[in-house]
Structures are given as C-alpha cells and as structure tokens.
C-alpha cells in the first residue's frame, strides 16, 4: 500500500472511532452548541436593545440580529475548538494512544481523524445555529452563490481553528488547561473584534488590535457575503489568516505529537 492510501485508510478508521466517541459522549458533543445559542439570546434579547441602538444606522438598516448572526457563527467555531481541545486532551491521557504509537500505522492519522471529525461536528453545529438565528429574525439578503461562498469561508476558518484546538489539546496537559487555552478563540478574540460592536467605538489600543486580529476580517467577509455590506480587502485577509493558522496549527501539532510521550 502506498503511503497516501495508508494515511487515508488509517485516518478513516480514526474518524470512525471519533464518531463513536461523539455518540458515547453525547453530553460533551452537545455542550459545544450551548455557548453560541446562549450568546445569541443574550446579545439579541438581553443586550440587543442598547447595543443595536448604539450601532444606529450602521447596523445595516436591519435588526441587531443581522449584525451579530455572523459573529455567533464564529463563536460556534470557537466553541468547537474547546470541544476539540478537551476531547483530544482526554484522549491523549488514555493508554490507547501509546498503543497507536507502537503500531505500524500512519502516525498522522490519530490527529487527522480528530480534525476531520471535529470539522464535521462543528459544521453541523453551525447549521443548527444558523437555523436558530433564522428563527429569531436573522434575515440574510443574499444569493445562493454568496451563501456557498460564506459556507466555504466558515469551513476554512473552522479547519484552521480546529488545528489550533488540536495544539491546545496537546499542550494543555489537563482538560481544564486545554479548555482555558481555547478561551482565546471562544471569548477573547470574538469580543475584541467587530463581532458585537464596531471596532471604531472601542478605545484606541483595542481598536487597533480588533482591526488586525483574524476574527474581524472573517466576520466582515461573512457580513458582506450574507448581508451585502462592503467587503473590501477583508476577504483576502480572512483567507490569508485561515491558511496561516492552518499551517501553524498543523506543524505545531505534528511537532508536539511526534515528541516522545512523557512518562
């Protein structure tokens, strides 16, 4: 068997294992949905009045829900990162990982199986969250092509962040540690981006940060695709961030995984 087909076959086996884990560990699998849905209601119904009024006309002439729906989608991605990191961290503490390391299998398959599994889980969560957003009043004004492009951007971003989640799972040492690291993508970066309010309303330092971090261009690209606002160079920045994070995450994860396991 060639190397590539060996990798594919072993990765498919690991993916099946990952799906079985999701089914057996349903609470963990579903908890990834909780954060974005709670945030959606919190921001739309609790803070939405004030925040939406504060945005005024810049809320694209529509309800605040239209402004935050793309952000909530990315919070779902961030929440998926936490699930990935915790799952992987728990898995790595199991003796079976050491068994895999002493078997003549594709070494990368342990990680790729996890990444593809997480990617699929997160994308399913996103479809669910989009459904909830539509139910509470999200009204995208867009074409089918733009929807497909938007889903493409979401998938790309999810893929990139999932690899980072794998890194957090590997370097986090404990599930709690892995979860803490994931807060970067779950809370810190979304709140300091254009997700909920416009960066130009923020203090100078944070505004500068918001303009140059990955969530802002990805959110602005999604808004452009789904609501028809100007995209500018956001799309190029978004794709560049996705590719960059994927590369960093993949190489970092591989390096950590290939190290001798700690006794």
């Amino acid at each position: 068997m060639t190397n590539l087909s060996l990798t594919l076959r072993d990765s498919a086996t690991m993916l099946r294992r990952d799906f079985r884990h999701s089914r057996r560990n349903l609470k963990m699998t579903l908890s990834g949905l909780l954060t974005p849905v709670v945030m959606l209601f919190l921001f739309n119904d609790v803070f939405g009045g004030t925040l939406g009024a504060g945005l005024g006309g810049v809320a694209h002439g529509g309800a605040y829900i239209n402004y935050i729906a793309p952000a909530i989608i990315l919070v779902t991605v961030g929440s998926g990162v936490a699930t990935t990191a915790i799952n992987l961290c728990m898995d790595m503490s199991e003796g079976i990982i050491n068994r895999f390391r002493t078997m003549a299998i594709s070494r990368a398959s342990v990680l790729t199986g996890q990444v593809i599994g997480s990617l699929i889980r997160t994308l399913i969560s996103i479809i669910f969250v989009i459904g909830v957003a539509l139910l509470v009043g999200f009204r995208p004004t867009t074409s089918l092509v733009a929807w497909i492009a938007a889903l493409g951007v979401i998938a790309l971003f999810t893929f990139a962040l999932t690899w980072m989640g794998v890194v957090f799972g590997l370097v986090g040492k404990t599930p709690a540690g892995a979860n803490s690291l994931s807060l970067i993508f779950q809370l810190i970066l979304p709140f300091t981006s254009s997700a909920f309010v416009r960066p130009d309303s923020m203090p100078v330092g944070i505004r500068w940060f918001a303009e140059y971090q990955p969530f802002t261009p990805v959110i602005d690209t999604l808004r452009g695709l789904l609501l028809g606002t100007p995209i500018g160079n956001s799309a190029v920045l978004a794709v560049t961030w996705c590719v960059g994070l994927t590369l960093v995450g993949y190489l970092w994860a591989r390096a950590v995984y290939n190290r001798d396991p700690v006794r």
Partner: protein, 312 residues
C-alpha cells in the same frame, strides 16, 4: 536473536534510568526482566517498542534497528503495557475491530479474528459492553487480545499480572505459555520473583538501570548460598542427639528443627539420613529448601525486594 541491545542508555534529565544495558532474547523464548519499581523495566520496554528513543547504544528488534526502521519493528511487535491501553468509550468488540482495521484486515477476517479472540479470552459475554464495567482481569485480557489481533511475532508484556487477583494471574500465565508454544517471543517485566521463575526461559535481574545477573532461574539460584535440609524432631532429646551427630548445623530449640546446609542434590540428603540412621534418632519430617529468586535478588542487589510485600 529476536531482541538485541548493546550498551543501551537512557536518562531523563539528570536521572540515569538505563546505564548500558545488554540483552539477548532468542526466538520463541520467554525472557523476564526482573526488578523493583524504578529499576528501568518500563523504560526498557518503551524503547524496545519504539515508544520513546534511546540516548545511546544499539537496539535491534526482529532484526531491525528501532531508531532507523521503527515501522518495520512496529509491524513485528505487540505491546501490552502496565497501564491499560484499551479505548474506554468503545465496547470490547469494537476495540478489537479497531485493531483489525488498523492492521488492514478485511472486514470478514477482522470480524472472524475479533470473535475468535473474544472466545479465547473468555470475553464473549462482555463483548458488547465498554471496559468501564470490566474487572481488572477482563481489562487485561482485552488489552492482550488487542495486541494479538495483528499476530505479532514478538510481544512485550510490561508487568502483565500486577494488580490481578490470584485466579486472573494464573489465567494470564496460561495465556502466556500458550503464546510461546505457538512460536511467539516474549519479553516480560515483573517484580514478582515467582512469576519469572515459573514462566521465563531466561531471567535478567535489573537494578538501578544495570543488569546485575542474567541466566536461567536455576543458574541464578546457584549464584547464592541458602540451600538447606530441614529436619523436624518430635522431642528435645532427638534434636539434641541429631545435633551432636551432625555437627555444624543451625539449631532451633523452640521449633525442634535443625537446618543442614546443602547444595541441593539428593546425595547430600541421603548422607544426612545415613548419619542419623545408626543412632536410631527418630526424624519426624524432612524438607529440602533450595534458594528461591528472593534470595537471589537480595544477594545480588544488596537490598531486599521491598515491593513484594505491598504489591500482593
């Protein structure tokens, strides 16, 4: 040789774990690595099974260098560690099928292999349950069954019976004997002297990262003194008379016993009894004690095997 090491060295930081280890394990034999906790047993298994790298020395397993051709080594070996290596979220059967998939067996062959192993290791009733509800012995059997899915030629067993009850321990011993009868080479580590004595063709005593002795268990036992004939008497008069006749002996007046040093052969026993016979001294009981590996361990390492007491 299926397993060969020359000058194997490993340190974790400043702590030297293996200090120039030479091992030779012939095909189709059981080799026991005996030593207390911290002697370097698990580290040796981890290096031989390609889990971690060595710092120095040469290691060949199944004819392949572990550092240069790890995948060729991995294709020939199976490892059952001290710590359970089963997937706790999968059922027993799913665990075996996972191994079958990773060994690239066909669907029907994988199912057949899994069913055979479940049957052989008495896990048929538990096949549809996850290991969460397994007993220690069942978990260990599943672990070993998973190792066997790939039909390894060399099996590493790191403390295969630690923590098992006596019945499970005997089951495991029988499984190990059956494997070797089938031509497999086994390297096992143990802190139980009895286990090495019972199972292994050759035993290496490891202490603080160094081999302190290597040979068959009989060869090792010959390295140390301690063999004796124990004579039991019914009364103090017999004891006294026998002690006078035999001369240089260990005497226990409370137990009414004498211990006569011996090298363990039958002739020496005969000589002792012949000396007592003309005096018409009534001997109530005779037993022959050869040194066990406990004595060997103590003599070789200079400290008693402290693990034994608390591990059982």
């Amino acid at each position: 040789m299926m397993i060969e090491t020359r000058g194997l060295r490993k340190a974790f930081g400043d702590h030297v774990v293996l200090d120039g280890l030479d091992l030779n394990v012939a095909e189709g034999t059981i080799f026991a690595l005996l030593g207390p906790n911290g002697a370097g047993k698990t580290t040796t298994v981890q290096i031989l099974s390609t889990l971690i790298g060595a710092d120095g020395g040469e290691v060949r397993v199944a004819g392949h260098d572990v550092a240069r051709e790890p995948d060729a080594v991995r294709a020939a070996i199976g490892v059952t560690g001290q710590f359970s290596a089963v997937d706790n979220l999968l059922t027993g059967e799913e665990n075996l099928l996972l191994m079958a998939d990773l060994h690239h067996l066909g669907r029907s062959e994988g199912r057949w292999r899994a069913a055979t192993l479940l049957d052989r290791f008495d896990l048929v009733d538990a096949a549809k349950n996850t290991p969460a509800i397994y007993s220690g012995g069942m978990r260990r059997r599943l672990d070993l069954a998973m190792t066997l899915v790939g039909d390894p030629r060399i099996i590493f067993l790191d403390e295969p019976t630690t923590g098992l009850d006596p019945r499970s321990r005997h089951t495991m011993w029988q499984i190990i004997r059956d494997l070797v009868a089938g031509g497999v080479t086994i390297l096992l580590t143990t802190q139980y002297l009895e286990e090495a004595d019972l199972l292994a063709d050759r035993v290496a005593v490891l202490d603080q990262g160094k081999l302190v002795a290597e040979g068959t268990s009989n060869e090792l036992k010959r390295l140390v003194p301690g063999g004796h004939i124990r004579l039991q008497f019914t009364d103090a008069r017999g004891l006294e008379a026998a002690a006078r006749t035999l001369g240089e002996v260990m005497r226990d007046d409370n137990e009414l016993t004498l211990q006569v040093p011996t090298d363990g052969n039958v002739r020496s026993l005969q000589t002792v009894l012949d000396q007592l016979d003309p005096e018409a001294i009534a001997v109530d009981g005779v037993s022959l004690h050869t040194p066990d590996l406990d004595d060997v361990f103590f003599a070789l390492t200079g400290h008693p095997d402290t693990q034994k007491g608390n591990a059982r």
